[in-house]
């Protein structure tokens, strides 16, 4: 049952992404990316990746819609109807789709325990997280405990993004 629902949702994703390519109105493109993130989060939930699903719902559907809309209001191109045809992009899209779906056969099956990627470190985290860290959620203990240095890098990246947005937008409209 879950597999059938998964296939329906994946086909919905393909339909929405084709619409994003074809549509020439920036406003409806942004709304459709919101729908794309919503469906994507449901797929992550069905695959039991609950933290990823929460992140996708909050970041993809919530804050990025707000920031995209702020951006197109700031640069003043809300709806553009260009005469350029979308056919080459659609052909490119289908070529990419076919090549990726051929490549998918070489990937290991998701969630299997005897795959090489899941054999060494993952087993250690799952077995020792509760006794070493005292945190029942393994994702949190890996993110903040075992791989704390990576998370530090991520936080600094977000910090630098904030600083550079501030530096680009500061005083440009006030002075001229």
């Amino acid at each position: 049952m879950t597999i059938a629902l998964l296939y329906i949702l994946l086909s919905v994703l393909i339909v929405i992404s084709i619409y994003v390519i074809i549509s020439r109105n920036l406003f409806s493109v942004i709304i459709s990316t919101t729908i794309f993130s919503m469906v994507c989060a449901l797929i992550f939930l069905l695959l039991d990746a609950i933290d990823v699903s929460l992140t996708e719902a909050a970041v993809g559907a919530g804050i990025s819609t707000i920031l995209f809309l702020s951006t197109i209001r700031y640069v003043d191109i809300i709806a553009t109807d260009t005469k350029k045809s979308a056919v080459p992009i659609v052909i490119l899209f289908f070529l990419l789709l076919i090549s990726i779906s051929i490549l998918i056969y070489d990937l290991p099956e998701p969630g299997k325990a005897n795959v090489v990627n899941n054999s060494q470190a993952t087993k250690y985290y799952i077995n020792n997280s509760t006794t070493e860290m005292g945190v029942p959620n393994v994702v949190t203990s890996v993110l903040a405990g075992y791989r704390g240095f990576d998370t530090l890098g991520e936080v600094i990246v977000i910090f630098i993004a904030g600083i550079s947005v501030l530096g680009i937008l500061r005083n440009t409209k006030g002075r001229t």
Partner: protein
């Protein structure tokens, strides 16, 4: 319970497909925002129903985040669209 659950999941996914079509073939932006709201509500229901089938117990948190984000994005899209309409009015 499980059989009824599966029937209802099928019904709601058919409804999801229809509302995606409504979104794509809409002729004005208000209908698109309405379809977005509809899809968000459907996805909250799908999360609640498939959560009872799966082993995860935290699905209610995600459903609550969903309901919240759906409201926020609807209001924000409407606000920016209204601003644009106001600009057109005074031109």
């Amino acid at each position: 319970m499980i059989e009824a659950n599966i029937i209802v999941i099928t019904l709601i996914s058919v409804a999801l497909l229809i509302s995606i079509l409504r979104f794509i073939f809409a002729e004005e932006i208000y209908t698109k925002i309405l379809a977005t709201n509809l899809i968000g509500t459907k996805i909250v229901l799908l999360i609640l129903l498939s959560g009872t089938l799966s082993i995860e117990k935290d699905f209610t948190d995600i459903a609550l985040v969903y309901a919240l984000i759906n409201f926020i994005s609807t209001i924000v899209i409407l606000k920016y669209y209204e601003d644009k309409e106001k600009c057109n009015e005074y031109d």
